[in-house]
Homo-oligomer: 463 residues x 2
């Protein structure tokens, strides 16, 4: 560890209670964009925390959706880092599977449990604390930092592009740090150079009648079976999408991108830890699984419901059935074109009897090239903060509206953060390790102080 790294790390440990307090404050209120729960108060709570670490803040609402919280250190310095986060979280269902209440942070065995602990309030807190830390240790933050904290990421960021259009004048930056990231099961920091795009749809089969006694099922159509038939035509048993034209715009990865995958090494034990023994869709080699996970599009079934789902038995012929699916997109796939392909498929297979309802507008994928200098800066500071070389993924498996950074602002965008393989994001008992949280603060602080020297001359003097 270098001298400055050392000093920062010691100070982080001294200020541990303050930094946990900031995290807990963010985790103590619901902010569920899907249902609206807590969304009236949430932006103000975020503003309070921003001001606590010395950022000037502003709420933007003119894009039409939930407010964007904007935080800035107005220092008029050379060099600007844009930091993207979101304060909205996924719904906590199924509630009964949480060990402690989702909006009452609980610390157990070195981890903090709450909805949003990892995705995305933990990441936001670590970055805010990094600012706090630098002000404390070196008395300044030696560049402009801009926090863009949106409130609709978990519902597909439907109004964010409008925000970018309305406020392009304040968005100027040299690079962007994206919202998410973490460490591998072996403790190596994970860095992501992109994110998939997404499309979220509901498929609804609805008959022109009420529920009926199930004996009518012998001759009257069952919308649940209709929906099942449709879904079985959309994906084969190994996960390959069967919709005509779906893969048309998918490009093969280039040399540099494939080289990243080679460096990731064997992925299998990690996958077994996550998916369970015998939990994989196919028995492909590890590298091919990585290609599927990070570089290929896919369709997932997030939920399905029809008829009687209570206790015991009820003999009923349901009147309707519905499913929620997400479609993950890779670069060059346009959401509106993919939607059209799916609509055409559903229309043909269901004879027009099943409706396709886009729940979010969706957005395309984004990538930053592995040879982009900012990637090297993130990697070098991660090595210093965690004491071990990072693993660099060409793209996250998940989605985010990163295309607004790479395609609209046209600056590099990289993700690094505080989660791990036990974080259960979007699921019950979401959590982060406190160690990762504190290391994350250190990483962002190191990234921040080395930003300007590195962009100027490729040097990282403060490590």
């Amino acid at each position: 560890m270098g001298r400055i790294t050392d000093e920062l790390w010691n100070r982080i440990r001294e200020k541990r209670d303050r930094y946990l307090g900031i995290l807990e404050e963010l985790l103590s209120f619901p902010s569920i964009a899907a249902t609206g729960e807590g969304m009236d108060e949430a932006p103000d709570h975020v503003v309070e925390v921003l001001e606590r670490v010395g950022l000037r803040s502003h709420l933007f609402t003119d894009h039409g959706g939930y407010p964007v919280v904007w935080g800035e250190l107005r220092e008029e310095r050379h060099g600007t880092l844009l930091i993207y986060n979101h304060y909205d979280v996924q719904p906590p269902d199924p509630l009964e599977k949480w060990t402690s209440p989702p909006f009452k942070p609980s610390i157990r065995n070195g981890r903090i449990y709450a909805r949003g602990a990892c995705d995305n309030k933990g990441n936001l807190a670590a970055r805010l604390c990094a600012i706090d830390l630098l002000m404390d240790v070196i008395g300044e933050v030696p560049l402009n930092v801009k926090f863009l904290i949106e409130g609709e990421e978990e519902i597909g960021s439907p109004h964010l592009s409008k925000f970018f259009q309305n406020h392009s004048e304040i968005l100027g930056a040299d690079a962007c740090l994206w919202e998410m990231g973490g460490t591998s099961p072996s403790g190596r920091p994970l860095i992501y150079l992109g994110a998939k795009g997404i499309l979220y749809l509901e498929l609804v089969a609805s008959e022109k009648r009420t529920d009926l006694h199930s004996s009518w099922g012998a001759i009257i159509r069952n919308p649940a079976f209709e929906l099942i038939h449709l879904l079985s035509t959309m994906r084969d048993r190994k996960g390959r999408v069967l919709i005509e034209g779906f893969y048309d715009d998918v490009q093969m990865p280039d040399k540099d991108t494939l080289a990243l995958l080679d460096e990731l090494g064997d992925f299998e034990s990690e996958l077994k830890a996550i998916g369970g023994e015998d939990g994989l869709l196919s028995n492909k080699p590890s590298k091919d699984l990585l290609v599927d996970l990070t570089l290929m599009p896919c369709i997932n079934l997030c939920g399905i419901v029809s008829g009687y789902i209570g206790q015991g038995s009820k003999t009923v012929l349901p009147g309707s059935a519905s499913a929620k699916i997400d479609v993950r997109l890779v670069p060059r796939m346009r959401p509106e074109k993919v939607l059209e392909l799916i609509q055409k498929h559903v229309e043909r297979v269901s004879n027009g009897r099943i409706a396709v309802r886009p729940l979010d507008m969706g957005y395309p994928a984004a990538r930053t090239h592995p040879r982009e200098p900012f990637v090297e800066l993130i990697a070098r500071t991660a090595s210093a903060a965690y004491g071990v070389k990072p693993l660099i993924y060409p793209s996250a498996a998940g989605s985010g509206p990163m295309y607004l950074i790479t395609d609209f602002l046209k600056i590099p965008c990289v993700a690094a953060g505080i989660g791990d393989h036990l974080s259960n994001i979007h699921a019950p008992d979401e959590s982060i390790s406190l160690e990762n949280y504190l290391r994350g603060i250190l990483h962002i602080a190191l990234l921040t102080i080395n930003f300007v020297p590195f962009l100027r001359g490729g040097d990282t003097p403060y490590l």
Copy 2:
């Protein structure tokens, strides 16, 4: 109308309030066998009503399940009619689709709405009122009547065969009137000479992991898709079951049975009223649809659930998925053999990853032959009560443990009752028309007083 028929009908109209009161009393308490709601008190409520019409009653519990309520007129007369009903009802879900609360009977436009109005408390009430009516008008009931009122019909009557074994000495009778029936949309009384058997199963796909972020869906197995694939291999799009050996024991109907279907006439407009425009599984001719509905086995999907089913979007890879299916059986199909066929199919298609859980034990189908004299008696008295010839179905499309009557007691068993095509049994806003209820009382009264003369000499003097 004959003199006695006339006299009975007039008296029914005079005593309308008393008869509606008896019905409302039965409809005012929940008795949901599937969840247990109200089942502690329900048998006692039924006993109170039996005693109100002069029946001696007894609760049997030694078969192990919810009590069987037994009611009897001990008159030591020649000739015995056994009457089968059940006091348990289907769960009222989805509750929000009821216009008035399911266990608070509500009269609107000549109909009474409540869970169990038709299935089966309305039928029970009409039969009890018929006894009350005869005592009132002619001062006696000229035969032995035995009421067998069970509490587990809606969950597959799992303990009823034990009851029959334990108490065969009290069950002696010349014929049995089964629980259900009604009128056609054109007002003709419907008579059923049998019932299908049933098997009710839950299919459960469960992974050895929690819910995950849906981006893992690119390479990790989705139990909802696994279940969907399985279900799509169980039934084709026209409803034909694809499980090997499923139809092996199904026999072609005989001449007399097919002749009944010929007399039923065109079924199409009735079907459209029930299933909705374009609601049929296939475009077969009417008579073939009747064959499928009454004489063929089938598989129905009663419910399916997995993942996020709340409002808006949530991107999750579910950890489990489950479906409830019912299988309707026809004569000669044995439930335990069909269960084995399904288990084998599920094991093969899912590679042992989906579990089959029988929710009820199930029971076989039952039929009484069209040439059985009791059929003629029911039909003749129905003609007199409703003023129009009945429609006779070789079997109901629905199920009931009627095989205990036809195969264990070895006596004829026929169903006639008070429902209609608007009754919504097993569904929200279950109801019967008050007119049908009162006609039903008349029918059972006529059946009762003509029973002994007809069995003796084929005569029906009291019509």
